[in-house]
Symmetry: C2
Subunit: 368 residues, 2 copies
């Protein structure tokens, strides 16, 4: 069914011939063909909500680079948008909700969306992408990753109404009225679990939960308001889609201090940002989970020889052990030259293959 | 000489009757009297560069709250401003340099400032503040903290030219031309050491190095480009002002993963942000250094009973051991109600006193 299952094998910490690689925001503004499609669509929401366009841009990076996974082109704000908060994207200022959730009355009005029909454009896109990834015999080139924002991260956008520096509104609510934040999180937990289940039913091979704003929380608050809802989402998906065995990656940006706690969330793999030393991270949790990351996206602005050096350093840091998925530590920067991405992907594949070769020659048991 | 040396004793990890407390940006926009003085000065730079105004606002929070230290009212950008980069502050967009350092030619033109006269307004302010803190017999109410940005943090502002999201310019330079970044850091290291020495000579009792942007670096890059220059600054200050025995606090925001490495910088204390669990941090480095922190500034937006609960949780997390200086995990938010600060300071003092009492009654050896 899959021509290349390296990514899925690595997620299970099974041995692979090389380290698989994909890139957060791999279908995005650094690609001229993406900008061309977006211009045709008119604006970001029109691009994202149209399954034809979403399919087209999802496949664009795979046409350029031998990536080991495709990721659904979408946005983490689809769920609060489906709750009727009035999502818009403005050039420069980013996403904005016309109706942020600021008080008890706002929360009382909130309803979890019916995934179908409100988010059918996402499940339709997944089905179309799976078709487009298949050859005539139905063999898929690479696995497809679905995703959602974490309940906490969605709550940040819902309460703040857009991008913010200090998370003043939601943190004020969190400390003054934790019960209100909990009500939003409970709603988001159900909505995210339903959304991920719908993505599984539509055909994704793996799931990723983006906890973009978990890292802004204080130590104790993180456990309660970000990690606990993520664990509940995973438990719900596991309970209702147990026979699907869909691996789940959790990525808390800035969560390097909390890897042990995150490892207990039920996830199969953790994404780590570039502040994390992969050697230390593997020693801390590598016996239980796979790790995904963690090149600084700014490395891709440097000349090719530097990119290759930094790629090798990350691969060496993890070592020849199973369970590493190469990625950036956050989304690729829009100003990245596409041919730099090609250098990175090639170096990941060739160097990780050589690393395994060298290790198995010197000590056949080391890679086990 | 000092009516209250609790803060200095805690920095040396000596026993204290209670946990001392001060607040990052304690002289700032949350205080109406500060805004009044700033309005009189006309704009931020006029306020900061005038020793009379700087003295006035430095003392304002101590008039309101029984804080255990004063901190020089100034800005971390005084040093690059003295290099002639053309600093301005605009409402909303924050600091901006008219002449950012973007290439080799810009770097060749850079010169370390002569602290005197370029930064005499800072040393004059320190002398005036020490006067203002003294009573008729020359006894000072509380110690005075001087400070500087870290070489890396200053370099970020110098190269980016102002606030930024992705640190694109300096990270591009860092990966493509590390030699150029190193030249800026070498210059900044000398300038910061000279600046801190001048502050010691003018009379500060302790120093703090704000590594505001160390946490944006990748693991390996942090060691080389942020931590190593900080260690060199400390070594220079120690070598040239050895007999002054001025304790130094280093605060890398987002540096919780790197406490062990930071502890080897030569600092006497580390500041930690709110993502750090104080129990774990003390276990990791508390035998060597004092710890400063780490209440989430957003806690101060909550009602008083919540503030007191969160203060007690932080004090309990550190425990009754010597070497804790209470503070926020970052600067106080401008929208903080001043009477909430009073609640926090009172709870720190009363609860930490009770904590020591309780512990010494139950086990006289526990607090040793």
């Amino acid at each position: 069914m899959l021509a290349n299952d390296t990514f899925l094998r690595a997620l299970k910490r099974a041995p692979t011939d090389y380290t698989p690689v994909w890139i957060m925001r791999q279908a995005g503004r650094y690609l001229p063909e993406y900008n061309e499609t977006r211009a045709r669509a008119g604006h970001f929401l029109a691009l994202m909500k149209n399954p034809d366009y979403a399919t087209e841009v999802t496949l664009q990076p795979l046409a350029r680079f031998p990536l080991d996974a495709a990721i659904l082109f979408s946005d983490i704000l689809t769920v609060p948008d489906a709750m009727g908060l009035g999502l818009t994207f403005n050039a420069g200022s980013g996403p904005r909700f016309a109706h942020p959730v600021r008080d008890e009355a706002d929360i009382a009005r909130l309803k979890a969306p019916m995934i179908d029909p409100a988010l059918r454009y996402v499940t339709d896109a997944i089905r179309q992408i799976r078709q487009a990834l298949s050859d005539a015999k139905g063999v898929q080139r690479a696995p497809l990753i679905g995703f959602s924002g974490s309940p906490w991260t969605l709550a940040c956008y819902m309460v703040e109404g857009g991008r913010c520096d200090d998370f003043r509104w939601i943190k004020s609510m969190l400390y003054a009225r934790p019960d209100l934040v909990q009500r939003i999180l409970d709603l988001n937990t159900r909505a995210v679990a339903d959304y991920l289940n719908a993505q599984i039913d539509a055909g994704v091979h793996a799931l990723m939960i983006f906890d973009t704003w978990g890292g802004v929380l204080a130590h104790r608050a993180f456990q309660r308001f970000s990690l606990a809802p993520i664990a509940r989402v995973i438990a719900r998906v596991r309970a209702s889609r147990a026979d699907a065995h869909i691996p789940i990656i959790v990525f808390t940006k800035g969560g390097g201090l909390w890897l042990e706690a995150l490892a207990a969330s039920g996830a199969d793999a953790l994404g780590v940002d570039w502040t994390v030393d992969l050697t230390a991270a593997r020693q801390r949790i590598g016996k239980q989970l796979a790790l995904q990351g963690n090149l600084d996206p700014a490395v891709l602005l440097a000349p090719p020889d530097i990119i290759r050096t930094e790629v090798r350093a990350a691969l060496d840091a993890y070592g020849p052990h199973p369970g590493h998925i190469f990625n950036l530590g956050h989304g690729i920067l829009p100003c990245t030259p596409p041919h730099h991405v090609a250098e990175m992907v090639e170096e990941v594949h060739t160097y990780s293959r050589a690393l395994r070769q060298r290790t198995s020659e010197s000590d056949p048991f080391y890679s086990a």
